[in-house]
Symmetry: none
Subunit: 237 residues, 4 copies
């Protein structure tokens, strides 16, 4: 788990009760930041949902910024832990990719697109509102996918005619969109959507098959030849 960069405002959290409070606050903060974004989220909103005073929030976190950093870091910590624990046991480029897609989609589903937007929008702040802690986590988070991609390229499973970063964007990009779509519907079938997305992406990622292209050409040639043949009037007997 990543360590918090700034210490709690006034007290060291030690007891079990404290730890629970911190968890509660982080949970609510995650919700509020998700729903309203960093700038629009308010500490009083969080406090009210928790049923405590605002001061209590500041007892455990040194400020709004700190709280948000913790929320984002924790999110990364969770998904990174999940990936790093399971991915090594999966074999096959396609299977690994499917696992990453499903895991990512699952997380996004649970936390909602708001948190996703938070992480993307606030994470890319030009001013380093949030320390480089987050940048480090971002890199660590995308590392497994990049590894799978580059291994896949090396093994000939994945096309090598496009930059990896483009491939990465092609995988992470759709997922958020899928989620935003999904949020409007009642239910989302994560398993089914993961499968479908994998299907689509896997096909796009595969090395362009020259054989297939050649066959397409052949088909066209044949068709033309046939047409020519058919147009040719029969020779008189």
């Amino acid at each position: 788990m990543s360590q918090p960069k700034t210490l709690p405002a006034r007290r060291a959290p030690s007891s079990i009760k404290s730890e629970q409070r911190i968890k509660d606050i982080l949970l609510v903060a995650r919700q509020v930041f998700s729903e309203r974004g960093y700038a629009s989220a308010t500490t009083i909103d969080m406090a009210r949902r928790l049923g405590v005073s605002e001061a209590t929030v500041f007892t455990y976190f040194s400020g709004k910024r700190d709280l948000c950093v913790r929320v984002i870091c924790d999110w990364y910590d969770e998904i990174i832990a999940e990936i790093e624990a399971t991915l090594p046991h999966i074999t096959g480029t396609r299977a690994k990719l499917f696992f990453l897609i499903r895991t990512h989609l699952y997380r996004l589903m649970i936390d909602g697109p708001g948190l996703c937007a938070l992480i993307l929008s606030e994470g890319r702040a030009k001013d380093d509102t949030f320390g480089d802690e987050i940048v480090r986590l971002q890199r660590r988070y995308t590392a497994p996918l990049m590894q799978v991609l580059s291994d896949g390229v090396a093994a000939g499973d994945i096309r090598d005619d496009l930059p990896l970063s483009l491939l990465r964007s092609s995988i992470y990009g759709p997922m958020e969109h899928v989620l935003w779509d999904a949020i409007s519907k009642k239910t989302v079938d994560i398993e089914e959507t993961s499968k479908r997305l994998s299907l689509l992406l896997w096909q796009g990622l595969q090395p362009p098959n020259p054989k297939v292209a050649a066959l397409g050409q052949l088909q066209r040639d044949m068709a033309a030849a046939l047409r020519t043949f058919e147009d040719t009037p029969n020779s008189p007997e």
Copy 2:
């Protein structure tokens, strides 16, 4: 152009000078909202960049919200106009798709990911912060792509085994990611990136194996036929 839902505060935009003012304000507002997001953007920032007083902004727009809605609507208006003007003159599913991708990417490039984030993040606000005007525009904006996709499916150019909405997400999703990547680099080659993205997506979108399998079958059939033909001894004269 889409009409603003709320009328200007006090006066109808009539004179030429007024129209120019409005344009200037919208231009600056677009910049500021792009750079800082809705909540962090301030009217005084806009006023200062314009070299006018805050009050002037409120003379032409009834409030920050109204201004932001106009900015977003105008953005949609522009890109929709561009698409609706050109797309009909393009033939071929693949060419249409490429055009849509390039146009979208180009817009994103010009306006930056900030505006993109604004449109995505603020556009999806669950509270009715921004009227349903925007929802309508969103739908109108994606309509051409959906049409191309469904036409493509009908023509057999595009796979029919996946929901259209998933296909759409697979196209729009990567583009934002590409842009966020791009922003960190000095230059982005829109043309090249568009081509590459098209390559990847097109391959993913195409009807899956069956066609290839069919072609493989065709090849085999042809080969057999040829062999039969070749094996047939010439009839003696």
Copy 3:
């Protein structure tokens, strides 16, 4: 006059009305800071005395700190202007000294010991809460006195056996004390007090007179000699 280091919060003060507001605020701020010290002074207190909202104060000054710096700087500006305008026309070390004492005392009288404490206490903050602007002014303010002192030493009017800084402290120190005393009484006779203080300090500052000391010694020697003489029994004739 020293320029403000930080610009007003949101607006440039230009019109006559604005300037008056600024003056009013500075006047009240001077009072409040004087009465309660920097830390205990509150912006809402100032606003209430002015009969305006707190926000108005922040319209003209970028913050409490800025306001306090301006108060202190203005105080220095006033007294420095007064001194630099008049001192050159005064001749004689003693007369100059008297002028400086009276002027300083007068200022202190008008502004009260609170402002004096503010300037001394907050001005010496180890953290540079207030920029070095104030340090510069402090130096400029004490410069004339130091000049008078060193000139006086050179001319033989002032003793040269003590460091100038000690002399300076001996002059400025009592004045504050005098004022703190004075504040409890109804009236203070600045002219009279200035004269008396000058009398005392001037005598202390003068070169210790070796002649006087020698005379004191002579007196003692003579007394002893006389006693010896008197004790000596008369010789019989």
Copy 4:
């Protein structure tokens, strides 16, 4: 020792351990108040330096105000005890004055100008922030000096043409200034500074000219007498 005006919050200080705690707290409180002034000092700062919780401080003192009063009172108690114990054994107006100056300067040196400022600034609060306990101590503290001065006047050692309060201010005033100067330098030679300040002040305090004039007259008389004596021709034997 002066009694605190308000009793400890819940319990009488009885056990030895308790008394030590109280001393520790007072010591740290003195430091913190010295460094930051009353308003800017915080109880948590004290608690942290003590390594105890904030609540502990409030177990022994009923509040911040109470604590500060105790700090100031204790400071007075210490210096008053020191003075009242030693002063009676010193003879001679000049020696007594020197002792008072050195003692005061020494205290100031040890406790720093911060405490001095605290005592002066907070002590003079017009609101009854701190009871009149402190006023009583202030009077008791300056009493010995006033006694020395009035005795000196009576004995003809000190000029009688100026109010005693002015003389007092002339003594206490410079000392603080000296200290503020001193704080910026590395070391301060208390003994040397005390001597110099005594020299300066003593000269200022002495009865003015008449004595010098008298001595001048004496010199002249003596000279005349001597000349007469010398002019007298020796009687022949």
